[in-house]
């Protein structure tokens, strides 16, 4: 029951993140902002998927991969922004 609810919630958050990133890209023409927004929503979805008991190793691995990608992209975007602000 809880697993189904969290899975649905994660799906909704993922869809919202995709929509948000697409509209942000269309409005601001800044891919960095759109990617940052998408990664934040995907991290939220991964955390929702982890909130089931007992968790599975694939879910743990997927969450870890999302967060590592999110961290790498965030660092890269921050570095690019710092270069642009100089």
């Amino acid at each position: 029951m809880i697993t189904a609810v969290t899975d649905d919630a994660a799906l909704i958050v993922t869809a919202g993140g995709l929509l948000t990133a697409a509209v942000a890209l269309a409005r601001t023409r800044r891919a960095s902002m759109a990617v940052a927004l998408l990664l934040d929503f995907l991290a939220a979805a991964a955390l929702l998927r982890l909130a089931v008991s007992p968790p599975s190793w694939p879910a743990i691995g997927a969450a870890a991969v999302v967060i590592v990608i999110r961290q790498l992209a965030s660092r890269a975007l921050a570095a690019a922004r710092a270069v642009r602000h100089r």
Partner: protein, 188 residues
Amino acid sequence: MSLAEGFGEHNLEDVVNVLVQVVEAAGALIIFIGAVIAFVRFARAAVRPAGLDPFARLRLNLGRYLVLGLEFQLAADILRTAVAPNFTELAQLAAIAAIRTALNFFLGREIKEETDLVRADQAAGSPVAAASAAASSPAASSPAASPPAASPPAASPPADGRAEGGGSTGPARPPGTAGRPPPPGREP
């Protein structure tokens, strides 16, 4: 009958499991509500003409909800360690706790950096946001309609006690020269 016999290990496990479910559901609910609020705010920011600043604020708000939800989920992880029966469950718990702790740390750092950036943009007048706002409203881009870029700093009175501007006889000083001494020709 001792307390340990009356309140057996299975009962304790049941109680802790219920607590874990409740705390973890609270964390998941906070994360979901944060994502929905961020989406609604984003929709409003996308409909209204605005600069880049609302999107940065939106990320900040979502990050704060994620951090709060993570705190609840970490609490549930700590509770779960009380009843983890085998090594596999303990390893999964350790992996999840490591992921959540790392994300919590990085999110906290990013929120601090993003907050500093937003404040710096606000202090600098946010040229990107101002350009975007000017482009979205043509009336605001005309010189007559635009507010003064920066008011001159408050002038301190001259050392000889005269009023600023030299009264009504001389021309007004250009902005930015308020603190300078008067030209030699105007000295008594």
